[in-house]
C-alpha cells in the first residue's frame, strides 16, 4: 500500500502510523456537552464498506498528520490532505 503524502509524495505505508477514522478530528465538544456526546466522539465509528476517510501520521517521514481517503473494499487509495488544513482550533 502506498500513501500520497502531500509533502513527500508517494510513500510506502510502513512509513506511516495509523490512528483511525477521521471523525477523531472533529473539535472536542464544548463544556456543556452531555457525557454521551463526548463518548460518541471518542469511541463511535461508522466503519463503512467502501470509501472511508482516516487519519495517518507520516511518522518516519515529515511528521505530518494526514487525512487519507481510501476504499475499504478495493483497497484503492484516492488521496491525502494535511490534517492541519482542515483542523479546528481548540
Amino acid at each position: 500500500m502506498r500513501i500520497p503524502c502531500p509533502l513527500c509524495g508517494d510513500r510506502d505505508r510502513r512509513e506511516f502510523y495509523y490512528m483511525g477514522a477521521a471523525e477523531a478530528l472533529t473539535a472536542p465538544p464544548g463544556p456543556e456537552a452531555p457525557p454521551e456526546v463526548i463518548d460518541d466522539q471518542l469511541h463511535l465509528r461508522t466503519n463503512p464498506a467502501g470509501e472511508t476517510r482516516d487519519v495517518w501520521y507520516h511518522e518516519t517521514g515529515c511528521g505530518a498528520w494526514l487525512i487519507v481517503t481510501r476504499d475499504t473494499v478495493t483497497h484503492a487509495v484516492h488521496g491525502a490532505v494535511l490534517a492541519e488544513r482542515r483542523g479546528t482550533t481548540a
Partner: protein, 984 residues
C-alpha cells in the same frame, strides 16, 4: 560423461564443465547448465521420492517450479533445506541431495504398505478414523500421522544462513521473460522507461529455451540471447533472473524472491542465500506463461510418466533422453511436436497416442488416434503401458510416457487481490479476470494466447498500452517471424476406467477421492478441497486444480462455472520464512539503542537490560557481591547517604520554541506552564484524548519562549506523535515548533546528600542553592563546553541532572562515577533507580499503564480548571472518578509473609480470592533497604479512604498470599525536605 542418458549433442549445457554431486549418498556426474532433475535423469535415475500419503514411488513430472514429486532435501545439518524442487535447483559442485518421505530407503520403503490399505485411506480418512478416543489425538494419532505423511524434515537447528531484503521501483515490471515478457521489456526499454524484467528461471527465455521454434530463422535460444544482450546494455533496464514474483499487493507493490546463493558451490560468507524484494511498479505486465496439465488415468503416477512439455525441456534444453522407449499421449498438437523433437534427438518413440479421433500425423511413428492410455506397469518405474481404443487394447513396452492434457494459463498473480479466474469454454481453461489487479496487464500465454507469434505481439501491445498510459511515446519494435502454429487441442481430464487415477500427485488425491467427496455431499469446491486435501502443500494445486474441479463438475452434473473455483493467494511458490524475515533473526529482530555510557557500564560488569529499544544497566556488581540484591541495596545506600550517578539519557527530550510555546504546553499538559519563569522547571501530566494519563515528566523553561520537555523512556515516540497531532489538528494557528533532541544530549542524574560536591567539581562556575534552588535549571559550562543543569530528583534526594552534547557523554560518565566513588558513592542502575522511586511513590509506566486517570493516581489537583487541556472533558465523564475507582496506594507487609509481588491481586482480608471479589492489583514492588521492608505500589478500589486497613494480596500464579497494610504511596520523606536540600 555425465550419465548414460545424456544425448551426444545439443542442449544449452556446457559438456566441458563437469559437476560432481550426491543423491542419497551416491556420487554422480552432471554438467554446467543442469538442474538436479536433469542431472538425475541423465544418470538414469527415475525414482526420486515417495508420495505424501501412500508412499508410492514417484519420479520427475515437470521441468519447472510446479513440480509435485521431485522434492528433496539439500545440504547437511543446520544448512539442510527440505522440500527443494529438484527441477529448479541448479546443479553445483558438491551438491548434497537426499530423497524424502521414505524409510529406510527410497527403494525399500516400509510405509509402502499404506498403498495396500489405500481402500481404507481415501478422502476424509483422517476425519473419520482418528476421532476417538479424544485424548489419543495429541498423544498418539497426530505424531504417527506426522511421521508417516510428510514432506521433508527441518534440521531443528538454528539457521546459520543469512538473507537479505531490498526495495526497487520502476515504471514497468515485466513478470516472466519468455517471448511475451522479452518483447514487452524490449518495447518499454526502447521507449526509455525504467524496466525491471524478473524471471524465476536461472536463464531467461522461458519456453523458447525448451522448444525447437525459430524466430526470424534463428533458433529460439539465439534470438533470446540477442534480445537480452540489447536489454543488458541499457541503463534503464534491470534484469532479475532467478527471481520469482510471489505476490501482487495494493498500490502496485509486488513481492519477489531472488535466489542469490542457492546455486553456488562455495558462496562468499557474506552472500545471502535469498533476497526478498518489494518492487513498486507504476505498471506491470504479467507474462507468466502457462502450465501444462496432466491427464488422469489408471496408475498414471509411476516414475517415467512425465509432462510432454517437460520431456521437450529435458531433450532440447538439457540434452537428456527421458527414456529409451518413449510413448507420447496427448490431446493436442503438442503431443506431435514432442514426438518430432524426440525423434530429431535420436530417441526412440514407441507410440503416439492422440485422444482425438480425427487426428492425423505425417510422423514416422506407431500412431493411435482416438485412443487413450488405460493403465501402466512397473513397480519402481514405468515398464509397460496399455493403450485402448474402440478396437481393443494393446500393451506396449515403454519406460517413459509423455502426457499432454492442454495448458492452464498461469493466472495466479491476477487472483492475489481477491478476484477469481474466469472460465472459457472454448479453450477449456481459466483465464485472468479483467482488471483484477490495478495496473497489472496479463499478456501472452497467461492471457490464453498460446502460440508464440501471438505471445510476441501481445507483449508489444501490452507494453505499448502501459507506457502510453504513463505518457511515454512508444515506437513498437518489429515482430520476429516464427514457425509456431496456433494451438489446437481438446480437453481430456480423466480416462474413464477402474483403478486409481491420480489428479493431485503432491497430495495423493485420485479421481475416486473427488467422486467420494461429492457422494458425501462435499459438493462445494472449497469443501472438496479440504476434504480430499487436493491443491494443498508446495505446488498448491498447480497441476491438479482444474482437473479436480472438472471431475467435481462431472460427478455433480454441473458446468464448471457453476461448480466454481478456489482462488490463489500469495506466494506463487513456497517462500522460506527466513527469507521473508530477512535480517530479523537474533539481534536483527529489533534495532538496539545504546547510551553513551554503554561501554563504561559493560566494562563495570553491569548486566544490560532492554528498556524499549534501549539497553540500560541493571546494576553494577562489586567484588564479593553474590546476588543482584546485594548490589542494588548498596547502590540505594549510595544515593541515600552519599551520592550516586545514573545515565538518564534514554528519557525523551523535546525542545519547544516559539511565542506560543507556553500556551501550547498548557494545551497538552493538565497543569499550567505559560506561567513558568525562565530558569524554573515543573512536573507535568499529559492526558490522552480519552482522558486517561498518557505520560508524565518535567518541562524546563530555559528562556522566554524556549522550553525543554522530558518524557518517559517508553513514551517518547508516542508523546512526539501526540504533540504533532495536537498542534496540527487542534492548534494549527499557534506559533510553536518542536523537535526531538533525545539523541543530541547525554544526561546524567547525580543524586544524594553529596551530589552538589560532585556537580561543582565539573562546572567552570560552581552553583549553590541560591543560584539553583530545587526545581531550577541553568546553563553551565564544563571546561568551556556548554551544558544544562537541572535541579530535579527522581530519587527523593538532593538531585541534579547534568546534560552535555552527546559526544562528551562517555567521558563525563566515567569522570562522574569516579568522582562519586571517591565520595563513598558510585554508579547506580535500573534496579536501584526503581527502589528509590518506589520508596518515594514516584510513577512509571507500571502505574501509567493506559487505564489510569489523574484521579486514580491522586493527581486530580494537577488538572487545572482555569484552562482547557486535551482530555480534560473526557476525564470528567461518569465512571472515571469516585470511590468505585481503583486508586493508587502503598502496600506494606502486615503479617508473617513479607513478599509483595507485582501482578498479584488484592482482596478484602476475609474474602475468597476469586475474580468477583477482586479489589485491585500490585503494579510495582521492591525490597527497601532504607526502610528495611518490602514495599508495593498498587491500585485498590477506593484505596485512598482505606489507609490503615489490612488486605490480602494473592498471587495465584506463584502461590503467594501476603497480608498487607494499605498506606500512602509515599513511604519515605513524605514532606520532601531531602530533595529540597533542607534535610539529609
Amino acid at each position: 560423461m555425465s550419465g548414460p542418458m545424456r544425448l551426444e549433442k545439443g542442449g544449452l549445457i556446457d559438456r566441458s564443465r563437469e559437476i560432481r554431486f550426491q543423491f542419497d549418498d551416491q556420487w554422480m556426474g552432471g554438467v554446467a547448465g543442469d538442474t538436479l532433475a536433469s542431472a538425475l535423469l541423465a544418470n538414469g535415475v527415475r525414482l526420486v521420492g515417495r508420495s505424501f500419503k501412500y508412499h508410492r514411488p514417484r519420479g520427475i513430472l515437470t521441468a519447472g517450479s510446479e513440480e509435485p514429486n521431485a522434492l528433496v532435501e539439500i545440504g547437511k545439518a543446520a544448512r539442510r533445506t527440505p522440500n527443494v524442487r529438484a527441477t529448479t535447483q541448479e546443479l553445483y559442485e558438491g551438491l548434497y541431495a537426499v530423497s524424502q518421505n521414505r524409510f529406510p530407503s527410497l527403494k525399500w520403503d516400509l510405509l509402502e504398505v499404506n498403498d495396500l490399505f489405500a481402500p481404507f485411506l481415501g478422502a476424509g480418512f483422517y476425519y473419520k478414523t482418528f476421532m476417538w478416543p479424544r485424548a489419543f489425538w495429541e498423544r498418539l494419532y497426530e505424531p504417527l500421522i506426522r511421521r508417516a505423511a510428510g514432506l521433508g524434515a527441518l534440521s531443528k537447528q538454528t539457521n546459520p544462513d543469512h538473507y537479505e531484503k531490498a526495495f526497487a521501483h520502476c515504471d514497468l515490471l515485466v513478470i516472466g521473460a519468455g517471448p511475451t515478457g522479452l518483447m514487452a521489456a524490449l518495447t518499454a526499454a526502447r521507449a526509455g522507461a525504467d524496466v525491471i524484467l524478473a524471471d524465476e528461471g536461472d536463464r531467461m527465455g522461458g519456453r523458447l529455451l525448451s522448444e525447437t521454434i525459430t524466430l526470424d530463422g534463428q533458433p529460439g535460444p539465439d534470438w533470446v540471447a540477442g534480445v537480452l544482450a540489447e536489454l543488458q546494455g541499457m541503463d534503464n533496464v534491470r534484469l532479475m533472473p532467478r527471481t520469482t514474483v510471489t505476490g501482487a499487493y495494493d498500490g502496485g507493490t509486488f513481492g519477489a524472491v531472488e535466489r542469490v546463493g542457492l546455486h553456488l558451490s562455495a558462496p562468499a560468507a557474506d552472500l545471502p542465500l535469498e533476497c526478498f524484494w518489494r518492487i513498486t511498479a507504476r505498471r506491470a505486465i504479467l507474462a507468466a506463461g502457462a502450465l501444462e496439465r496432466p491427464i488422469a488415468f489408471r496408475d498414471n503416477d509411476r516414475p517415467g510418466v512425465m509432462l510432454a512439455s517437460a520431456v521437450r525441456s529435458y531433450v532440447n534444453r538439457y540434452a537428456v533422453a527421458p527414456g529409451r522407449k518413449v510413448a507420447v499421449f496427448g490431446t493436442s498438437d503438442d503431443a506431435h511436436r514432442t514426438v518430432a523433437d524426440l525423434q530429431a534427438a535420436g530417441v526412440e518413440v514407441v507410440a503416439l497416442i492422440d485422444a482425438r479421433a480425427d487426428a492425423t500425423t505425417t510422423l514416422d511413428v506407431p500412431f493411435y488416434a482416438g485412443a487413450t492410455v488405460t493403465g501402466t506397469e512397473g513397480r519402481l518405474g514405468l515398464r509397460r503401458i496399455t493403450v485402448t481404443r474402440a478396437a481393443g487394447s494393446r500393451v506396449i513396452d515403454a519406460d517413459c510416457l509423455a502426457i499432454s492434457g492442454g495448458w492452464n494459463p498461469t493466472v495466479h498473480l491476477t487472483c492475489h487481490m481477491n478476484a477469481r479466474p474466469v472460465w472459457r469454454e472454448d479453450i477449456a481453461a481459466f483465464v485472468p479476470p479483467e482488471g483484477a489487479v490495478p495496473g497489472l496487464t496479463p499478456a501472452g500465454a497467461c492471457a490464453s494466447r498460446f502460440a508464440t507469434t501471438d505471445c510476441l505481439g501481445d507483449g508489444v501491445a501490452a507494453a505499448t498500452e502501459a507506457l502510453t498510459a504513463l505518457g511515454a511515446k512508444v515506437s513498437p519494435p518489429d515482430l520476429p517471424r516464427t514457425d509456431d502454429a496456433a494451438w489446437r487441442g481438446a480437453a481430456l481430464w480423466a480416462v474413464p476406467g477402474k483403478g486409481r487415477a491420480w489428479l493431485d500427485f503432491q497430495n495423493d488425491v485420485t479421481v475416486k477421492d473427488v467422486q467420494q467427496a461429492a457422494r458425501e455431499n462435499m459438493v462445494s469446491v472449497e469443501h472438496m478441497k479440504r476434504y480430499t486435501t487436493q491443491g494443498m502443500a508446495p505446488d498448491q494445486g498447480k497441476n491438479s486444480n482444474v482437473a479436480a474441479l472438472a471431475m467435481l463438475a462431472d460427478v455433480t452434473g454441473r458446468a464448471i462455472p457453476e461448480t466454481g473455483t478456489t482462488t490463489f493467494r500469495p506466494p506463487y511458490t513456497p517462500v522460506a520464512i527466513a527469507t521473508m524475515g530477512a535480517g530479523g533473526q537474533g539481534a536483527g529482530f529489533a534495532p538496539q539503542r545504546y547510551m553513551t555510557s554503554h561501554d563504561a557500564s559493560v566494562e563495570k560488569g553491569a548486566p544490560m537490560i532492554e528498556a524499549g529499544l534501549w539497553y540500560r544497566p541493571s546494576y553494577f556488581p562489586r567484588a564479593g557481591e553474590r546476588t543482584w540484591r546485594e548490589a542494588c541495596d548498596r547502590e540505594v545506600g549510595h544515593v541515600r547517604t552519599a551520592v550516586g550517578v545514573c545515565d538518564v539519557s534514554t528519557l525523551g527530550k523535546i525542545e519547544l520554541h516559539g511565542p506560543d510555546a507556553g500556551r501550547f504546553l498548557d494545551l497538552v499538559y493538565t497543569n499550567t506552564f505559560s506561567t513558568l519563569a525562565p530558569g524554573r522547571t515543573r512536573y507535568g501530566l499529559m492526558l490522552r484524548e480519552d482522558g486517561h494519563v498518557m505520560d508524565d515528566g518535567t518541562t524546563a523553561c530555559l528562556a522566554e519562549g524556549h522550553y525543554l520537555m522530558t518524557t518517559t523512556t517508553a513514551a517518547a515516540g508516542q508523546v512526539m506523535r501526540h504533540l504533532d497531532f495536537v498542534q496540527q489538528v487542534h492548534a494549527p494557528g499557534m506559533a510553536v515548533r518542536f523537535t526531538s533532541v533525545t539523541e543530541q544530549w547525554a544526561q546524567f542524574a547525580i543524586a544524594g546528600p553529596r551530589a552538589l560536591e560532585v556537580v561543582n567539581g565539573f562546572l567552570d562556575t560552581p552553583v549553590d542553592d541560591a543560584a539553583l534552588p530545587f526545581m531550577g535549571n541553568c546553563a553551565v559550562t564544563l571546561g568551556g563546553i556548554g551544558g544544562r543543569l537541572f535541579r530535579i530528583s527522581f530519587s527523593g534526594e538532593r538531585g541534579y541532572e547534568l546534560a552535555v552534547p552527546a559526544r562528551y557523554g562517555a567521558a563525563l560518565f566515567r569522570d562522574l562515577v569516579a568522582r562519586a566513588e571517591g565520595l563513598g558513592g558510585g554508579a547506580y542502575g535500573m534496579e536501584a533507580l526503581n527502589v528509590l522511586r518506589i520508596e518515594k511513590g514516584f510513577l512509571t509506566h507500571a502505574e501509567l499503564h493506559g487505564r489510569t486517570t489523574a484521579f486514580d493516581l491522586g493527581l486530580a489537583k494537577m488538572v487545572s480548571a482555569k484552562k482547557v487541556c486535551v482530555g480534560q472533558r473526557a476525564a470528567a465523564r461518569p465512571g472515571l472518578t469516585g470511590p468505585d475507582r481503583e486508586q493508587l496506594v502503598g502496600l506494606k507487609p502486615a503479617g508473617a509473609v513479607k513478599q509483595i509481588l507485582a501482578g498479584a491481586h488484592l482482596f478484602a482480608e476475609r474474602a475468597e480470592a476469586v475474580r468477583e471479589n477482586d479489589e485491585g492489583y500490585v503494579t510495582s514492588a521492591c525490597y527497601s533497604p532504607t526502610l528495611g521492608t518490602t514495599l508495593g505500589l498498587g491500585f485498590l478500589r477506593n484505596g485512598r479512604a482505606r489507609h490503615g486497613e489490612v488486605i490480602r494480596m494473592v498471587d495465584h500464579l506463584r502461590g503467594v498470599e501476603t497480608l498487607c497494610e494499605v498506606c500512602d504511596p509515599v513511604f519515605f520523606d513524605p514532606e520532601g525536605g531531602r530533595a529540597r536540600g533542607e534535610t539529609s
